[in-house]
Amino acid sequence: MREIAAGGEAGAGGAFAPVVGRSGAALAWRRFKRHRGAQVGLGVVLVFALLAVFAPVVAPTSPAEAVLSQRLIPPSADHWLGMDQQGRDLLTRIMHGGRISLVIGVIAVGVAGSIGVPIGAISGFRGGWVGHVLMALVDILLSFPAILIAIVIVALAGPGIRNAMIAIGISQMPAYARLMRAEVIRLRSEAFVEAARAIGLPEWRILARHVFPNAAGPLIVQSTLNMAGAILSAAYLGFLGLGAQPPTPEWGAMLSDGRTYLRTAPHVAIYPGFAVMLVVLGFNLFGDGLRDALDPRATQR
């Protein structure tokens, strides 16, 4: 895991020259560059994404390859993170676990956005009783911890990666609906929206072409933070036996399996957990920096 930390610091150097200009993007980039935590976060996220994509190429062995004679051996020069309870290389499995976490995160966030954003948009743009009923449902969901919603959905639909992704997506949906609704309400009284209305554009077009692009910033920030939440939730579900099932090299499931050996071979459970923390921390730092860069009013500084 040491390379990931080092990669984060290297990313913090910032090899790109700042574009000095008056455009919003350039301003945001300059603010982002001043945010050291954000750069560390971006570095961690990039290293994580690269390792996830190229895991089959860079990983030392294959995630299923087991050498029973090397069960539970601690980290060494040959196996940097040691071997697990079945004699599988832990570094390889953690790299492949990153692939699974990345896929779960992206799909869950996609599900959350594609349900939550339209609900928020309709409720904010139209109002009326439909809007009120939708938001009342969203508020009920919002009053429960996301992990509990995900657990209940998986409990009913059955464990597995596919159901875990859907469940996590639904559990994150309310945040998008609330955010989108607030953005739409803020934007719908702006002059350019009134102008679009005045020239007779249909509602869906106003929403798609004029409102949505202006709400993109906060939605991107929310999605980055939701990636952190989704990866954490996926690991929790895997740990509880409700997400990915062994022998899939999923971080939560690996940690749950390795827990039995905490006394004799702590590395088996500790490293997958550390991977979860590092990636979640990366997305959180990156998301925080993005928020400060894209919406300076949100900062308390």
Binding site: G37, I140, S143, F144, P145, I147, A235, R259, L281
Partner: protein
Amino acid sequence: MRDYLTRRALFAIPSLLAVTVLIFLALRAVPGDPAVLLAGDFATMEELAAMRARWGLDRPLVVQYALFLSHLVRGDLGDSIVSDLPVRDEILQRFRVTVVLAFAAIGVALLIGLSTSLLGATRPYTVWDYGSTVVAMLGVSTPIFWSGMLLILLFAVMLGWLPSGGVGSWQAFILPAVSLGFSAAGIIARQTRSAMLDVLRQDYVRTARAKGLQERRVIDRHALRNALIPVVTIVGLEFGRMLGGAILTETVFSLPGLGSFLIISIAKRDYPVVQGIVLWLALAFVVINMLVDVAYAALDPRIRYA
């Protein structure tokens, strides 16, 4: 204030009803015969027939829901498939463990969250401030099961100071409470820091300083009191989130609370218990959210819900 309380309590009823509808429909959306789900895979024909009669499973959905609700208000959540005991008794027995854990954890969260954020916010942009920001960020990002395992490894396995699980003594709650509390400490710390920085910029704080008050008193008397108002909301919401996080903590530390019971019941397909626990937690969240709103109104004289 009393009017507000009454109205807030009345508002809670529709959301509770909506939750019961969602849970009622969810169980019937599961593929398979609901009578088998509620009586277990090994139920006899007589048991299935009794289950159908008790919950009206061969009658229209609306009638089923009415029956479900009438059982519910009498506190009848059915019997556990595994133990045959009333679900209500099974839940109440374990809820105590979860409540103790949640209160201990919120205590830890307040201790870490408030102390670090106040150290930081009163010395903005110093090492203290950055340190407290890092602690907050780690709190938000550390998986509950991971901090739990590290604590077990350090204090139970290596040092042998504290038990690694069970409820044999009060010491058994220390590690779970620290693990769960740390996750909430981060959010409390961030909220307190921004509230404190906001308050410290206010005119009345400048006035207090200008009239020569010691910095300590400015913080205690003027700044902190006002900064804590939004923090109360966060603490309330975090308390609710603790009941969710307790599912993980109780599993890591083998605590016989409601959270680990939920996971065990899901694994054993004990649907009456799963339904009962979810309903019970829903009730808890509605009550907690109500209390948070009330506390907020009581603390901040500017808020008037006329």
